[in-house]
Symmetry: C2
Subunit: 351 residues, 2 copies
């Protein structure tokens, strides 16, 4: 159809769903949240200012998930985004070691905070430990994201332990973005330990409530946590209370909710991974989250043609620091994934 | 009782209500929100990511309140706090002219954004136009707050027009924090005009929903608005959707809601103003918002003794750049205000 797309950012695809469009674009679960999260919420109770740090019952409940921690170690935030923003603004300046490909908001978040990324190219979608050892010394922090958006990869526990050891010795912060911690296909989540660890998490992906915007940061470094609270006091005050209420209720849903979701994600993962391999694309096997990042020829041309001629949305890898790849989110039902794969195959044959 | 208080910030009084304490501290309405705001909200509709700029129906509804504007001119934020934070982060550097006494979050917000305040001392609680003319030239922006927290004063329309004219000529931003625009006792609100005006507002005070955290910024400078949206895309994403839904419904409540609230505020204003004058305190007459800022002898001693010996909370003026004063919020019913005034009188007689 020859429509010229402005492929500067994912914003180009906003509102472009429906009408037979198959979207592998946006990274949000299509599955429903647990029943408990949306039932019996009395919004009249949630109208007055709350604690900046977050509602105490929610923080107490979270503390049970983190070894040797208390409610004091948490700050409830407007999604993981605000948690990351606060963390790097508290750090204020310096370099941050950043694996590439990366989640597309990381470089701007660092820039807005006055920090500078030092890139570390992934090897087979995972951290290259030698490269990490070489570059970490000049940095104030490392930002890791396992399972990763956009690679779908999960770091080896040995790598995480190596990061623990080196950063602990050097007194360097480890910022661990674990918003996909409950969607790992290969093993249990491993919680990084250390005096300078700051974990970022969210209720968005695990409980399918992205629009509610509730996330949190956790750290045993109480001085750091207190600085984040002080900043949030002025920059946004308490996180919306209805959302915190929903988050607390979601946590009380049966474990089977998360387990059943994981089964669905795994089936889809198998389907899209095999499908893209059968088409002949070169890609890493996703081990967590719900993304694949295959190599494609002429990515810009492919993304443009796929949308204008085939009604299929995929994201350009260059938005994530992966210029010869595209990102597909598989938050779609199996029939849509199959139909999308057919169209992708057809489109690729024309490029 | 001799308890030593740490009077570094208002945080000292968090959770210190109940048990017969009369709190003139926190600045949030004690009145209920309009019925419409909390009825028939279906939170299941509000679970997926929304537009970063804010829900379109809410922005369309707001555009009707601002002359010659459209939904594009607004960004819905996590309260007025996030709006202010985004605005100054977009500006990035430079000086901001700031009337003193000021809302206590202004100096940290400017500092976090890398900006520097240039103070302008108020005269009888209002902007000194000569001082404004002298200091504005070296600044990138002026931040005004009329009606003001903590002074309760409202700027004269002539002053606002003078600010319009001078800033328009020099191309300087006017950031107008109007969260108390619906609580003015003396006249209608005056909306500042100009190509470089950025207005900040909130649903917290007008509709008594502080904890919900919904505010917004408005500007005819579309490029500035777009930069704020781009930043929010990475730093917090969409504002919580349940809150936006509540805000839209609140706007549809009958005008009589706001009018009736205003009558209540006015009665309380008269009561506390006369009461403090009768005690012999020197203070400005509040013309809007719900604060008074009287001079008191030995403010630290007074605030400490008043709390420990009389169970009454008032805030230290020095938190607001007014070291010889204290701030009282009169978001309390008349009986409590009367009892509080009695205790204040008693306490003052002992200092």
């Amino acid at each position: 159809m020859g429509i010229k797309l402005n492929l500067k950012s994912p914003a180009v695809f906003i509102g472009k769903q429906g009408n037979g469009v198959i979207s592998f674009g946006s990274g949000q679960p299509d599955l429903p949240p647990p029943r408990e999260a949306v039932e019996d919420i009395d919004i009249r109770r949630d109208l007055r200012y709350g604690l900046i740090q977050g509602c105490l019952p929610l923080r107490i409940s979270l503390a049970e998930e983190y070894p040797a921690s208390s409610a004091e170690n948490f700050v409830i935030t407007n999604g993981a985004s605000e948690a990351l923003d606060l963390i790097f603004r508290v750090m204020d300046n310096g370099k941050v070691l950043l694996p590439r490909p990366y989640y597309y908001s990381y470089p701007p978040i660092l820039k807005y905070a006055g920090m500078e990324p030092v890139y570390m190219d992934l090897k087979q979608g995972r951290i290259d430990v030698d490269d990490f050892r070489k570059k970490i010394k000049e940095c104030k922090a490392i930002l890791i994201n396992s399972p990763s958006n956009p690679t779908g990869r999960v770091e080896a526990i040995d790598t995480l332990k190596e990061i623990e050891e080196v950063t602990e010795k050097l007194g360097i912060y480890v910022v661990s973005d674990e918003v996909y911690k409950d969607i790992i296909y290969e093993r249990e989540n491993y919680i990084i330990k250390g005096d300078h660890v700051i974990t970022v998490n969210s209720f968005s992906k695990t409980y399918a409530m992205c629009g509610v915007r509730v996330g949190y940061l956790w750290s045993p470094d109480q001085e750091f946590v207190n600085k984040a609270i002080e900043m949030k006091t002025h920059t946004s005050m308490n996180t919306n209370l209805v959302g915190q209420d929903m988050a607390l209720r979601a946590m009380k849903s049966p474990k089977s909710y998360v387990e059943q979701q994981l089964e669905i994600w795994k089936k889809r993962r198998n389907l899209i991974y095999q499908g893209l391999k059968d088409i002949g694309l070169d890609l890493w096997k996703p081990e967590g989250a719900f993304y694949v990042l295959p190599k494609v020829p002429s990515p810009e041309k492919f993304v443009g043609k796929l949308y204008t001629d085939y009604n299929v949305i995929v994201y350009l890898g260059s938005w994530f620091g992966a210029p010869n790849r595209v990102r597909l989110s598989y938050a779609l039902d199996e029939e849509e994934i199959k139909e999308g794969l057919n169209r992708i195959k057809d489109c690729l044959s024309k490029i």
